[in-house]
Structure formats: C-alpha cells, structure tokens
Amino acid sequence: MNRLIMTTALVAAGAMPAFAQEVSDNVVKIGILNDQSGVYADFGGKASYEAALMAVEDFGGTVLGQPIEVVTADHQNKADIASNIARQWYDTEQVDAIMELTTSSVALAVQALSKDADKITITTGAATTELTGAQCAPNSFHWAYDTHALAVGTGGALVDQGGDTWFFLTADYAFGYSLEEQTTEFVESKGGTVVGSVRHPLTNPDFSSFLLQAQASGAKVIGLANAGLDTQNAIKQAAEFGIVQGGQRLAALLFTLAEVNGLGLEAAQGLSLTESFYWNRDEASAEFGNRFMERTGVMPNMVQAGTYSAVLQYLKAVDAAGTDATEAVSAKLHEMPVDDVFAQGGTVGANGRLYKDVYLMEVKKPGDSDIPWDYYNVLQTIPGDQAYISPEDSGCPLVNG
C-alpha cells in the first residue's frame, strides 16, 4: 500500500514538470489586435474579442492542463501602434499568437514582425491577398476571406445568376482598382461583359452623378468596387434613385452583415454580396449566432465567426501538437482539417490560406425577414478551391520550396 502511494506520488511528481515544460510560461496566450474605436469597430471590433473568449470557453478553458488567456488591444487603424503592441506582447507578455488584425497595412506589418519573432498570426479582419501571396510567412495564416474570394463570389457567381452585364462604381485608389480588375476577370470568364465604369474619389459624399451614369448604362448589375462609408453612401443613394426597383442589381464587393444592419433592410434590399459566413444558414450556425448575440448584442459576421474558428483551431492544434511551440503548432495548423461552425471540411494550403466555402448572398426585402438579423438569402455556395487562389498560383515563395 505504502509502495503504491509512493509510486503514485512519484509519477505525479514526474508528470507535473513535464507538463509545465510543454507550454511556455505555463499559459497559452492569444492576442486579439484590431480596430475598436475607428471605422472598422463594427466590422470586427470588441465583438471579435468576445468571439475569441467564446472559443476558449467552448474549448474548455484549458489546453494541455494549462490555462488559456486572451488579451486584446485597439490599434486605432495605425500600423505603428499595432506594431508596437505586437512586439511588446511577444517580448514582455509571452503572447503566443496574434489574431484578427483588421486593415491590410496592420496585418502585413504584424505578419512581417511575427515572422522575425517566430510567432503565429491568424488574420481574419484584413482582405489583401498579399498575406498569402508575395509576403506570405511560414507561421502566418489568413482565415476568413480575401479580395479574390469576394471577386469570385460576387463577380463570377452573379453572372451565373443572370447578371451578365456590369457597370462599376470604383473608388479611385489601388484597392478599388484591384477589386474592379479581379471582378471584371471573373465576370468575363463566365461570359459576362463590362459595359462601363466610373471612378469616384475616396470618401465621397455625393454619388448622384455616378449613379445616374450607372443607371443610364442599362447594365444589369452595378458593382460597387469600394469599401466602408463609400459603399454605404452609394447604397443609400441608389435606394433614393430607385435603382433596385428599376430592375438593376447592386453588388457590393466588400460588405458584411454588420453594415447591412447599420443601413437597414429598406435601403439595402436586393443588394448582392459575398461573405464566408451567415449565421442563419444552418442549425449549427444559428445556434452559434444566438449564443454570440446574447453576449454581444449583435449577430456575428464572417470576421467575428472567423476569429472564433481561428482561436478554436489554434487551440486544437496546440492540443494535437502537445506543445505551444510555434513550429509544431504551425505544422498542425497546416495539416489538420478545419471542422467547426465557421468552416466544414476546410483545408489550409502551404501558403497559409484557409480554403473553405464562401456564399453569394442577396439581402432580403423588409417583408421577407421575419426574425431580427435575418437579412440574407444564400443564392449560391462557392467551394473554397474555386473561391481562393491556389497555393501554386498565389506567388507565395514558400510553395514549391
């Protein structure tokens, strides 16, 4: 008997430090870094942090017997503030991975410094394909969406739905051009034609002359190759011009549930857009959406649901690797399939891109929406390998050696 107790004690004593060594600093720490007070505060914001907390709770609160901690900061859309915080997190606060990273300048900057610091990043808030293209990094992942998927979804799939002539309202800067260019490619590859386009200045308050041109063009689809406030203004004013009632379709190339909610169904009805998540798509997503709603007061969009999935998958990878060491976890993240409420049968490419379905949606008419936040009809599901650039074509130097 005595002997048995002794052995148990020894085993326990032997096991404890072994466990402690597997996880650095006896805690797995995740940083959620995004805009919480500026223009993207609804796009991701504090709700993304809540999504991360939910993922930790759903995972069980501990991994490998060690506690999980989530820290958050508001980068105010400034890459220098983000960079400062990220470095400080890595150097002095033992943060193991940083996620969310709304806006491309921030995401690229933090991804670059994480590469040097040998840490993991999972971007859900930024759109640029550069993250898994020329500037890709071995331990960095891009989770929720990118400009290519938006262009394929809204551009390519909408042609299948009968929208075969297009007119673009394009924001007059690099982001607008690349959206227009990529979308044009998919419209034309599906046999559609672009009948014209007009460029408007960034943060433009008055779209009337541009909308009149679009209306006069007779195109079936008016593509809004812009973002944020510009898209919202264009949609509001298009509603005043009765463009959707006149039989033309509006297609927003970067727009999410949070912004539809901000505009209201009256103005946004009939709008086509692409997201990689919709809360009322199936039972599991509705259950997740309602739980999220209880905590935050809003339904999750693809950025917030994507952040939930990223945190959950990261914890699964830590668990599978048996350590929180960057290289081992990163290897697991690359090889493990992603199956959760956000992604079903998702796979991760060598460039760090998550390949999962994206959805072409149409905003419902006010009369068709019976429960709050029930805003979309899913028109079409686009498989991940069609929506995203394949690792081989991404231009990422890590693919093919």
Binding site: A79, D80, N84, T92
Partner: protein, 328 residues
C-alpha cells in the same frame, strides 16, 4: 558692489546651474530609458517628439499654423522606406533621401502657402498635403493601403547592425539630439531672431528692411526637412511606411502634441509628444475609446492651461525662480 546685486547674480547663476543639472538629468534619463521602458516605445516617442519640435519651429517661433505637416513626415517615411527597400541604400543615406524629399515638398508647398496668413495659410497647407495624401493613395510605389512593408533596417554606415535593438535605440537618440540641436541653434541664431520679430510684428520687420518672405520660406523648408528627418527615422524603426503618417489626422495630432506641451518652448513638444503617444498606447489595451479621451485632454488643455504643460511651468513661480521665461 552692493548686497542686493550680489544676491541677484548668485540666484541667477544658481538657477543656471540648476538648469544645467536638469538638462544632464534628462540626458541620463534618455540614455537609461531603453532599459527602463520598452525600447520600441521610447523610439516612437523620440520620433514624434522630433516631429513636434520641427512643427513648433514654425508655429512657436514664426507664428504660422501649418495644417499639412503630415505630408513632410509621412512623405519622408515613404521616401526613406522606398530607398532602403528598393534601392538597398544604407540607413543614413535613406534618411538623407527622406529629408531631401521632405525639404523639396516643403519648398513647393511653402512657396504657395507663405503668400497668405492665418486661417488661409492653414487651409492652403491642408489642401496641398491632402493632394499629396491622395497621390500616395493612388501611386503604385507606395502600395496604396498596404503601405511599404518589411523595410530592412540595414547596417548604419555599412557597419553597425540596426536589427540589434540597443544599436537602433542609440541611433534614434543620436538623430533626435542632432535634430533638437539644429532647432535650438536655428532658433537662437540671428535668423531665428528675425523669425520671432516676424511673429511679433511682420510690418515692422518689413520696414526694417528684411525680405520677410525669404525668411518665412526658409523657416518653412527647415521645419519640413526636420519633420522629414523624424518621418524617415520612424520608417526605419517600424520597418514600414503607411498612409497613417500622411493622413490629415497626423497633421492634427502634431498640433495637439505641440499645444499640449507648450508652443514656443524647446521641451514642450517633446513632453506633448510623449504624453500623446503614451495615451494612445496605454488606452489601446483599456476599455476607454482612445479618440474621446484624447479629445477631452485637448479640451482640458485649451480651457485650463493655454500655454501648455511646459509653458505653464515656465510661467509659474517655481519656473520663474528657475530663470525660465514664458514666451508669450
């Protein structure tokens, strides 16, 4: 020699000694800072402090409120980042290219803007810097919203590895001290005296026979070049250049820093910049919305201490006893 004069002169030298001691204390603090605080954070403060000091050269000593200094700061960051990343120049050459670019921008904008005064001057500088902002948004070499990323820090003079944080810090500190030194020399030169006289009474300066426009342009270009020095330095510290630094909000931020610290003082902008950067950093991880808090701080500054923190200190009894003189 009477007793009275003796006492006055001894307090005077006493105050002078005390000021020297304060200066040395600040220097020691700056040398020790990277070991006490997070080095990157201190470097960021130094970059912004230099930027604010350069801005103050124009606002505090010449009396011109520019609302377009972000163009010089952010522009230089782009020039330096581009030179170092695409042409592979060493850091010192990169910074010089940034400074030269900012000075050239300053010359163009200054030539147009100095023809007007007050609010019109501010609006012209704002408009021209916005033109530059949209140029940066659209042109290919600045990479639009992505910014120029992964700029290599490189080796200073081809020898000192700036990827080592301590090396980088002391390089930043050296550039900062040189920058502040130039501003100090400039302000206390005959040229600076004429600038102050333009601030006080432009007509009278004209009547004394000075070509006022040339002095104004000189001060504008000088301020732009020094703002560029700060911008180029920041690009190397953070290894990127983005639109944030050329946006009009940055022009507003530097005004806030300068007013908060105290216009027309050497130390004021440095104190103001430290305060604003610290606020931004500390509030980032708190639940308070950053923009609202900064706004409240600015309101409190305008309502309660108009001379700014350092300006009020100079004007206080303690400050006067130490021999400081408030500028206004």
């Amino acid at each position: 020699m009477t007793d009275a004069t003796h006492t006055t002169s001894s307090t005077f030298t006493g105050a002078r000694h005390l000021r020297t001691v304060m200066l040395i204390a600040i220097l020691i603090f700056l040398i020790a800072a990277p070991f006490l605080f997070y080095p990157i954070f201190v470097m960021k403060i130094l970059c912004f402090a230099l930027f604010a000091a350069a801005f103050n050269l124009l606002l505090g000593y010449t009396g011109f409120l520019s609302f377009g200094h972000a163009a010089f700061f952010g522009g230089a960051a782009y020039f330096t980042a581009h030179a170092m990343k695409e042409w592979g120049t060493t850091p010192e050459v990169g910074i010089l290219i940034g400074v030269a670019g900012a000075a050239a921008l300053g010359l163009v904008i200054g030539l147009i803007a100095i023809r007007r005064q007050g609010i019109y001057f501010a609006m012209i500088t704002l408009a021209l810097s916005q033109m530059f902002f949209f140029y940066c948004v659209q042109s290919a070499w600045t990479h639009g919203e992505d910014g120029i990323q992964s700029v290599p820090r490189g080796h200073l003079f081809g020898l000192i590895d700036l990827n080592v944080t301590t090396n980088m810090y002391f390089f930043v500190l050296a550039v900062f001290l040189i920058g502040i030194g130039i501003i100090w020399r400039f302000v206390n030169s005959p040229f600076g005296m004429i600038l102050k006289s333009i601030r006080e009474n432009e007509q009278r300066t004209v009547s004394l026979g000075y070509a006022v426009d040339r002095y104004k342009l000189g001060a504008f270009v000088m301020s732009a070049a020094l703002a560029g020095l700060a911008g180029g330095l920041k690009a190397i510290v953070f290894e990127f250049a983005t639109l944030t630094d050329v946006a009009w909000q940055m022009s507003g931020e530097v005004i806030l820093m300068t007013l908060l610290g105290g216009i027309g003082t050497m130390i004021g902008p440095v104190v103001g910049a430290s305060l604003v950067v610290t606020l931004q950093n500390e509030l980032a991880t708190s639940d308070f919305p950053v923009t609202i808090v900064t706004g409240l701080v600015f309101m409190a500054c305008v309502l309660l201490f108009r001379r700014g923190l350092v300006g009020e200190f100079y004007a206080s009894r303690l400050g006067r006893r130490l021999g400081f003189r408030p500028e206004q």
